[in-house]
Point group: C2
Chain length 408, copies 2
């Protein structure tokens, strides 16, 4: 008998028909002889409606009260899901985050899980119940209701799986799993059967929005093996787990394309200590997230340099506004902004043991006539900034080059 934690997101429990469907899946898992803990989100749309009500009252509502308000969304779903399991003849009990023993710090609206006391869950499981836990929420040691912020329900599922020493954690969502590339762009993209935490983290940070990074980080930290799969079909999904030797046999796990990038270049900046620091402190203070940063090496004897960075194109106007006075202050030649660019990345732990990955990627791009504007690398990732118009063609070429369309 295995202990399985299943998480169903807002779309999967979007109405009572879908909740019944979820109950059917849970019941099948239970009938197969497993103990089952189910983590659910608020029904899709509910959280937004609650936020709308709050905004009608106050533009910036108190965060403790927002948590009090939003926690009702998941509480509604757990009760309905328990009823749906009862209707199928199964024993089921719903628990709020607090009741499930999920203790958090006191940072309202983005609390961190401090610890989980799984006693009550274990008792209910041992008594033959399916245990249904409200995702996204917890309670501080002094009984304040908290929420965990974006992706919080995934985190609840993974943290519960760790605390309960579950055999498997399944994250049911509206996608089939993690693919070697976005199947809408690259037709030959394949579902990845197994991926390492680090690869999943890089994919997440590259905009493959299957899961928030912090849930994956949590799973990595506590060694929780989890599967990302669809709640709308029975296809196996993608297993995310600790890296194994075998994983390194595959050079590249996947290709990721981010088409929402823009670039800012400041030319003729004095090449002295503290200039870059001040620039990025200013951007940070304005809450602008910077992605890649490239600074050219100054030519010998040259006292100026050129700094470029990329960011989400939605933040370009804001960045320009805060950078312009700074450029003047530095005596820089001015600011150049570029839209119409994309970031193409390859990710894979195999990079560590295979040489020539960057070369192969750049060759593929060259063969397709794609010019590389910027390059950035990490241990298991290589990213390039390229022209947006050629981005899809480039993604195809790189996907092909590493043989990703022929998985399985």
């Amino acid at each position: 008998m295995a202990l399985i934690v299943q998480k169903y997101g807002g779309t999967s429990v979007g109405n009572t028909e879908r909740i019944k469907n979820v109950a059917g899946r849970v019941a099948a898992t239970k009938q197969a002889g497993n103990q089952v803990v189910v983590v659910v989100s608020a029904m899709s749309g509910v959280t937004d409606s609650l936020i709308k009500l709050a905004k009608e009252i106050q533009e910036l509502p108190n965060e403790r009260e927002m948590d009090m308000l939003l926690a009702t969304g998941e509480q509604t779903t757990i009760a309905l899901t328990a009823m749906a399991l009862h209707a199928l003849g199964h024993k089921a009990v719903s628990l709020t985050g607090a009741q499930a023993g999920i203790v958090t710090d006191g940072v309202h609206t983005k609390a961190k899980i401090a610890n989980i006391t799984p006693k009550r869950c274990h008792e209910l499981l041992d008594a033959g119940h399916v245990v249904i836990v409200a995702g996204f929420q917890g309670e501080t040691p002094d009984q304040q209701i908290t929420t965990l912020g974006r992706g919080g329900s995934d985190l609840t599922a993974i943290a519960l799986a760790a605390a309960l020493k579950a055999d498997l954690c399944q994250i049911f969502t509206d996608v089939d799993g993690v693919y070697t590339a976005d199947p809408r762009i690259v037709k030959s993209a394949q579902k990845i059967p197994v991926i390492s935490y680090d690869e999943m983290l890089e994919m997440a940070s590259l905009g493959s929005k299957v899961m928030q990074s912090r849930s994956v980080e949590f799973a990595k930290k506590f060694g929780v093996v989890f599967e990302v799969r669809s709640s709308f079909n029975d296809n196996p999904g993608t297993i995310v787990k600790e890296e194994t030797k075998q994983m390194e046999d595959v050079v590249i796990r996947g290709v990721s394309l981010d088409r929402n990038q823009a670039k800012v270049t400041i030319a003729h900046v004095p090449d002295r200590p503290g200039v870059a620091a001040k620039m990025f402190r200013t951007l940070g203070n304005a809450a602008i997230n910077i992605d890649m940063i490239v600074q050219n090496v100054s030519a010998k004897g040259e006292k100026h340099t050129e700094i470029s960075f990329t960011l989400d194109k939605a933040e370009l106007a804001k960045a320009k506004k805060v950078m312009e006075p700074l450029a003047k202050e530095f005596g820089a030649e001015g600011i150049r902004t570029t839209e119409g660019i994309a970031k193409l990345s390859v990710v894979g732990v195999g990079m560590r043991s295979h040489s020539g990955v960057a070369a192969a990627m750049f060759e593929a791009l060259a063969e397709t006539g794609v010019n590389i504007e910027m390059i950035s690398t990490s241990e298991i990732k290589i990213s390039v900034v390229i022209d947006l118009e050629r981005a899809e063609k480039a993604a195809h070429a790189v996907h092909e080059k590493f043989g990703l369309g022929k998985l399985k």
Copy 2:
């Protein structure tokens, strides 16, 4: 500095505009130098929507899960009410029933309050907060969420007022207070400034649906003085408190008319022990609430009698169905049912010290040509069953007879 508990029902918090209005009232009470605890219901319509969702899943949902589901309604209101007070510049903290220390038994959907630990409320009040408590809900000693059933928010307010030793408990509702008669029927009806618990209980049981009996009973048991008043104007309401000597100076406090009555008569029933018992046990088992019961004294030597009772006319068909086989078994002549009747009652603790109240009432009816079909009395109430068509005229006459239109 007084400690005031204010309760606002679902209509008073029916949308965000009305919640802001409630916050304004609370703020004024606070600014007048009082400590304020606010008890709120779910926004009107919310509880029904939640019940509808549950019914879509299961016809008879598990009661523990119904409590889990319904408790979200009040939790939503407390958060929004706290925000509305923040918007007015006041310190306010919301608490679920459990957080407010409301401990109940484990009878889901109609739990009884076992005790209240008011420590957290006191601490927050002493720190200058308005404390906003979710009505209608509590928690068992083993952390199960419970709800208190119909009228539960009134009960929360009165129980909190008792536990906090509040100076005053105000029940804000959509009526102005308790009247000497239904103002829609008797134009000269007056608001009653002060009424005793017992009178209020009789009025409640007679269908003056201002409050559920059990909240009044709770207030009586713990000596909680409360005021029933409107949240839509600033008129003083009706104070409900322990009976005083002065109250007896008023012979009759009010007149109540129930137009939803029906009568069942079983003729020629054997006049022997156990017959009535069996009859009313059968009705009780079918969950049919009986109101008045009248049995005629058998004539000397006569071995049969006639039993009549009244009940809500909505239950007449059901009562007839369970009574018919019984009538056969008793060898009774059969069952007669009568619709088109009403029950007119007068209530007042003054009855105890004034003689001739029944006589005065019957005279008023006789003068109006109203025939009395049944009579029933309690220590502070006299009820008669009369023809529905003449009921309003009768109510006017009795109201007039006792000088109730000239209060103040």
